[in-house]
Amino acid sequence: MEPLINYFIVSAALLCVGIYGLIAKRNAIRLLFAVEIIINAAIINFVAFARYHDTPLITGQTFSLFAIALAATEAAVGLAIIVQAFRLNNDIDVLELKKLRG
Amino acid sequence: MPAKLATENQLAKSLKDQFKNKIKEEYVESNRIKISTSPENLKNLAIAVKELGFEQVMSQGGTDYPENNVYRIEYHIICVSKKKLRSIIFSIMTEIPKDKPEIETLIDVFPSAEFHEQETFENFGITFIGHPRLEKLLLPEDWDDIPPLRKDYILPGRG
């Protein structure tokens, strides 16, 4: 088995990729990708830290369940917003989204 | 059978009363009435026929008469809802000169004439003024010969 640090670093790498995406991308769908990647990174940490506890905990798994469910929610809402924005603006460049309120 | 022709005669008579000598009664037979008129009066005649209870154009066609230099245009109008008039086919006919093949459309009186008039347009080159869609219907899009149902169009291989 690997030490915990390996999982931690993978998770950190995913987080950084996500942050890069949030900063660099203007396409709303790519932003959504970035957010999903960050959530994934968090979930990996949840599970890994719970597993590496002295007496392995199940709580990490339970919480990652919640996290996954909420990620699904977030994706649904985000995509609905994107579709809506596209209908209004014919564009999904976030910098151009001025009139989301119709 | 004079009794049997009663309805037909009555219909023809009512039209004659209305239009006097503007129309000509071609013939009144059992179940068939045919009335001819000048192109200008065709629309009024059609409205009058519609008021008599005839509802839809069953057929609309043209005939080319090269020797008289006219196209004859004929509408066959029927009624489907009234039992008494159902057996009758009412024809109204007009002749338009070949050098100016134009006539007012009847589709605002009889919407059912739309495709018939379009077909007559492409087959004879007769323009129906006011028709919304005078374009090729059955003929190929690239048809550039004279309209095929004119008598001066000779079929290929029939020189």
């Binding site: - | 003929l139 190929p140 899009e141 690239d142 095929p148 169009y153 079929l155 290929p156 291989g157 029939r158």
Partner: protein, 170 residues
């Protein structure tokens, strides 16, 4: 390049011997199998050009049932089809579309001209809008006379086509 006649002769002989061996042992069984598959799996394109389509429908009906020969009755996409059955008259308006359909079909493909109109124009020999025989625009493999042909005649034509495929080279 090298054009020495004796060398070429030798090369030819050697390659002939190799060729016949391979022909007999490898290519022939493969050809047999592929041909066998083809002749029992002719999927027709659903292109109705005119009234013969009703007899094609009757042939796929339960009485004549062309599916016995592996033909599916109604098939959606022409991308998966093998045989174009020209069901009757091809008009000037339809001809370019039919050619287009033929070109879109993947190889190998065959064409059946069904009915007198598809073979030669039939009744419409003097019509202003009818193509006088489809073999002017696509190569035809089997001709099925009749106006419209009986389903049996169509099936006989399909058997003729199967015989033709059986003899053909891959």
């Amino acid at each position: 390049m090298v054009n020495d006649p004796t060398l070429n002769l030798l090369v030819g002989k050697v390659s002939d011997i190799l060729d016949t061996t391979i022909e007999k042992n490898v290519r022939e069984p493969v050809r047999f199998l592929v041909n066998w598959g083809r002749l029992y799996s002719l999927w027709p394109v659903h292109l109705e050009t005119a009234c013969c389509s009703i007899e094609f429908g009757a042939a796929s009906g339960p009485r004549h049932d062309v599916e016995r020969f592996g033909m599916l009755e109604a098939f959606g996409s022409l991308r998966q089809c093998d045989v174009l059955v020209v069901q009757g008259t091809v008009t000037r308006k339809m001809a370019p579309r039919m050619k287009w359909v033929y070109e879109q079909m993947p190889e190998p493909k065959w064409v059946i001209a069904m009915g007198a109109c598809a073979i030669s124009g039939g009744l419409y020999m003097d019509s202003y809008n009818v193509l006088q025989g489809v073999d002017k625009i696509v190569p035809v493999d089997v001709y099925i006379p009749g106006c419209p042909p009986r389903p049996e005649t169509l099936i006989q034509g399909i058997i003729e086509l199967q015989n033709k495929i059986r003899k053909s080279k891959v």
